[in-house]
Symmetry: C2
Subunit: 258 residues, 2 copies
């Protein structure tokens, strides 16, 4: 059963009844990446988000220990309302649970970051077909801007865009700062360190028909690439593609900036 509202999806996630990706459903609504780090890294990570706004568009940041966040018109429990999570200890991925209640602690600081699923609806309405599967995501060689101890390469999501629609895709996504904004690269995957487009690091390769150009957007999986090498005692994130879905649409959040 596919939920018809974000609230229903979140409640299904709480009950363990929705454990799948959130791409291709409710994709006019703001979807969000989750990163949770301990208080002692929170300053560096917040600074990283501020310096890399296309990579990590901030929707909400909790105080230390705070797991219930008001995000637009949605009251979110970040421990339970996402379909699936990942937990790292000392830089190693140790668990991929469906619930964080047993893993929460009082120094945990939660960050919710915008997600590009979010502009798939607006792209479709602009006449640009987009796969309903999780987009292909690659670890590029584009460097993020360093913040304190945090730096490294940018993860990018790719959508094939017909050459006649590239300006439209740029203009549409530029409207959505909370969905990673406009692209960071067009064509030539090798120029950003991607050697085989058919082998993404995450998500599903949608193929590339004649006349289509691979277009790349900054991706909220990036923290899962740049944080583990720091070998933090503890960190959590959403499981790639398994996002928090909020009640407000992407226009609501992007307008907060204007």
């Amino acid at each position: 059963m596919i939920p018809s509202t974000a609230s229903e999806l979140r409640q299904m996630a709480v009950r363990g009844e929705w454990c799948k990706p959130t791409s291709g459903i409710l994709d006019d609504l703001q979807q969000a990446n989750l990163v949770i780090v301990s208080r002692d890294l929170a300053w560096d990570f917040l600074l990283f988000c501020v310096r890399n706004p296309k990579v990590c568009p901030l929707l909400a940041v909790g105080e230390p220990g705070e797991y219930q966040l008001q995000v637009g018109h949605t009251l979110v429990d970040v421990r339970t309302m996402l379909p699936r999570y990942r937990i790292w200890k000392a830089g190693s991925l140790v668990a991929e649970p469906y619930d964080l209640q047993q893993h929460w602690h009082e120094n945990a600081v939660a960050f919710l970051l915008g997600c590009s699923h979010t502009f798939d609806g607006p792209l479709r309405r602009a006449g640009i077909p987009v796969s309903h599967e999780a987009p292909a995501v690659y670890i590029s060689n584009i460097p993020c801007i360093q913040a304190g101890s945090i730096g490294g390469p940018m993860a990018v999501s790719m959508r094939p865009i017909h050459h006649s629609k590239i300006a439209t895709a740029t203009a549409v996504t530029a409207r959505y700062a909370s969905g990673h904004g406009m692209p960071v690269h067009y064509g030539s995957p090798e120029d950003i360190g991607i050697t085989d487009l058919s082998q993404p690091d995450f998500g599903v390769y949608p193929g590339l028909e004649a006349g289509y150009v691979p277009v790349f957007w900054a991706c909220g999986v990036t923290p899962q690439i740049v944080l583990p090498p720091l070998k933090l005692e503890w960190m959590c994130s959403h499981y790639p593609g398994h996002m928090l879905v909020l009640d407000d649409n992407v226009d609501f959040f992007s307008l907060q900036q204007t």
Copy 2:
């Protein structure tokens, strides 16, 4: 002598030869508010900026002790390149010097925030006359969103806009997230706690001719209102209206978000 480039203005400020407001000059370029707090308040203040992006549009944040910041294409020494500063100790304003070199310390964290002077150029080009004096600024009763220990009322700048141009003024300024974005209030000053429009808390009241509506934008003086009550051991800011002027224009900085 009015400097013809931002670089010239900054060098005049370094030499103590420009100690005046920066409104009405170089107002197509990104101008910036400065806030400096000690490391122990930096997390709360960064969170305050993130939660109140119209009030405190972040252009750059230094690491603790860092006074040279690369901001777009400008290398800024925040201690010397602004025309005038303010220093508070234990919540009291204790000095308004023209240089911070003697007042800097290794735990100081500098924040540069966008400024609304910046969209006066675009407004004029759209056929909306704007005063060349520092805009009238009021302490409103609009609450900022709390972040840790920091909260309080929003300072707002006011420009009189002819009733036929209100939509245009909204659309133009909405383009400039790094210039405080679109207005926060139109008309009826009493609804936001302003009892006498002719008596601003800062800046110059430009009068209000028949057919003109007072339109209010979030203002970067807000930190100078909400931080002193915390009675911090030490904090600094720019002197109201005496801004840092950067080499890049406001389009450059606002595009970073898209």
